[in-house]
Point group: C2
Chain length 461, copies 2
């Protein structure tokens, strides 16, 4: 049998938009990871569910691997096509299909950007509350495929909580219409939940019905400086007990240095090892007084060294930029990213353990810590020294990740909190999932994608 | 090969408690449905996860069907053992195993009653917010197996939302430790979610870590009388827009008649066709004023005929009894139960359609309507006339359910909102799930339970 080509696919689906230029192959063949050399067969850009089904059926017949592709802002290589796969980009399927005022749901195509979802919800005086820095580029389909988390999980949960219905093209080309916006539906296995977070290995999201909610009451943003790592979770406990927290994000002095170099404005004088940006509901004076009281208590207890409460929307945005600008500010340093989580209660012991591990293993390498510490989720970015070759740097980081994975396994944590497994984490999946679980996952994969054409090589070790 | 017996199992697991008396077989072989004659092989009452695994392994070796069993308050026959199955009752595994103040989780064994979970949460000044009338008898394992809903779904969602971790013995006897209390864990397929609502056909829940939350602000309870069915969803929209609703439950005059005959106290004068019990957060005077304003608006618009606001906890309990006492008051009439749902937005049209369907099909039979209308969930109980034989009555009800299922299919609804499919609804599963979905569900079943020993005959048509 000859190798199937893009021309074969074009013959089968004449109206399907297909790209095969070198520039397009490179553009669509990678995500925000930069470790793999893009080498897709072609890029298919369907404009309808039927075209998606047509592509998947053709791929089944010819044994062609398909990589579903959204905004390609992923950090685990889930959307990388480096081995002659057909990239199936959903970017042309990016419209709002409907809004239901009674159900308070928004039905969208998968290629719509998260930011556009936010805007569409706002038009109806409602909010879609999942949010993170890549909002302008990431697609809702990708958010669903990774069960994206972000900066409001502490208040609103992950993407999973907001998916009322999903249309999915399974690996066999069948269209599934899962849950259809019902609040209560105890009628057999919830395959919608199985799809969420499956990274395009079970099916391709072709439509999503998102639950919306009331806008939160007005909020305030505070930046806190902390004297040491132990203060972190104690301040979190103090604030959580007294305020309605919307976000509680931390970063280190090293992260601050990079984000300031990248153009952000300093908000506090002096050098402090740890910082927290927190946002809390403050609809009335009582809530504002509670916030100041919590702050003062923290200062009295020696847990908070300094702080600033935003006095305007502009200042709130400037404080948020200190946290949200980190990823972009680190990009030029080709960071190796760990995205790990433990139970909140396990965070203090875990932080100590990995702090000494990282100090020992990366003595001459800059390590940047930040993350959603109120959810037990920590981002550790290791910056490549200019003198080190890419491959040597990654080899060193993978060695350390192996040690980190062993620590996570002991602590019952997760090797991927919100980025997904993709290509980057698959060697470490066994630190988080048992052999029995992985065997069951393989079985499930075989049920939904019997020919193994959907995102092969991703997720599984 | 001879038939395996309880004696064989006793030989294999000498310390396992086993019951084989006729009274025990009858007691443990049924749930709240009364349609099947219990005929289990024996009742196993394990006291540890290891014993559960031992039973499942033995059952696999000998091809013995196992029916997992909790409080047996189910209404779909999911826990019925009528064909020589081994009942595996979790009732001895009913302890609280731990509480984590930082994670705000409670870890329990599966046989604990929902009410005992509520009490354990309260000891720590927190709440487990899933709640319904069977709270004293139902077990948390059964709640998880059916993704139980109840009276607070409108505010807190279904059981699914509150499960931070699950230990499950899969159909092959393997112990799975799923998600382990993590908030963020994007590491492969979320098998925990797949287990929730699988009615004991994929695995047996042997431990659960439940998320707890802050107690709600103080609330008020109101009983409303409505002039007609159209007012129902309009009052819901009016109240939802202005109040923080905790519950919005409706019932008809026929339901009221039964619950009053069963000893409840009348709270409003006059006869009205529809009633609503609603509970809303009322922490301050402003909220209380908003509630009265909403009520007055409803009266002015002709949507509300009368109402009463509970002035004490005792009166609130008395109003709640009008709704919560319905199921018990109907039990002597051997009701045939439908538990259906549609999207909230589809409720008004759906109510009209099924009202005329039921009036036509049950001209001489009493039909009682009530339910969680704010979630789109409607309970329709058909009461058996004394003159009609059980079998004839059920045959007639099944004929009507077929028509109802066709209506649900057109409206995109569900044949089981919160009771599960079990034995009762399996002939109608295809009204809610497509052939492609059911085929995938069968495939998933084969992965988790390759020998088909877990609750065979349940769920699948």
């Amino acid at each position: 049998m000859t190798q199937p080509t893009a021309a074969d696919l074009a013959l089968r689906l004449p109206s399907l938009r297909l790209l095969t230029d070198a520039g397009d192959l490179e553009h669509y063949g990678r995500d925000w990871t930069r470790r793999w050399t893009p080498a897709p067969l072609a890029i298919a850009l369907p404009s309808s569910i039927e075209e998606v089904q047509g592509v998947v059926r053709w791929a089944n017949e010819h044994g062609v691997a398909v990589v579903p592709s959204g905004g390609r802002t992923g950090l685990s290589g889930g959307a990388v096509a480096a081995h002659g796969e057909l990239v199936l980009s959903l970017e042309r399927m990016n419209r709002v299909l409907g809004f239901d005022a009674v159900d308070r749901t928004l039905t969208v195509q998968p290629g719509i950007a998260l930011e556009a979802v936010h805007a569409a919800a706002r038009e109806h005086d409602l909010v879609y509350p999942v949010d993170f820095a890549a909002r302008g580029s990431c697609s809702i389909g990708g958010n669903i495929a990774t069960n994206a988390g972000g900066i409001r999980v502490i208040r609103y949960g992950n993407t999973r909580e907001w998916i009322a219905g999903l249309k999915v093209v399974a690996g066999n080309g069948e269209l599934l219409d899962l849950n259809r916006g019902l609040i209560k539906n105890s009628s057999g296995y919830d395959l919608r939940q199985l799809m969420i977070g499956s990274e395009g290995t079970l099916g391709i999201v072709v439509e999503a019905t998102l639950r919306l909610t009331d806008p939160p009451p007005s909020s305030q943003v505070m930046l806190l400086a902390l004297p040491d790592m132990d203060a972190l979770m104690r301040v979190f406990a103090l604030f959580r007990a007294q305020l309605s927290l919307q976000a509680f994000e931390f970063f280190t002095d090293v992260a601050l240095k990079h984000v300031l170099e990248h153009g952000a404005q300093r908000a506090l004088d002096g050098d402090h090892p740890y910082y927290v940006v927190t946002e809390f509901e403050a609809p009335d004076e009582r809530a504002q007084e509670a916030a100041l009281a919590a702050f003062e208590q923290g200062v009295e207890q020696g847990l908070i060294s300094d702080g600033v409460l935003a006095q305007s929307d502009a200042q709130a945005a400037a404080l948020w930029r200190l946290r949200e600008g980190i990823t972009e500010s680190l990009a030029p340093h080709k960071p190796y990213k760990n995205d790990i989580s433990v139970r909140i209660g396990a965070v203090p012991a875990f932080l100590h353990e990995i702090q000494s591990l990282l100090a020992r293993e990366y003595p001459h390498i800059e390590v940047v810590w930040f993350g959603h510490i109120g959810d037990g989720n920590l981002h550790i970015n290791v910056l490549k020294p200019e003198s080190l070759a890419d491959a040597d740097f990654i080899a060193q980081c993978e060695h350390v990740t192996k040690l980190l994975a062993a620590t996570l396994q002991r602590q019952g944590g997760s090797i991927s909190a919100e980025h997904g497994i993709g290509l980057v984490k698959r060697p470490y999946l066994e630190s988080t999932r048992s052999a029995a679980e992985i065997a069951l996952m393989r079985g499930v994969k075989g049920v939904f994608d019997p020919n193994g054409i959907l995102n092969p090589g991703k997720v599984f070790p």
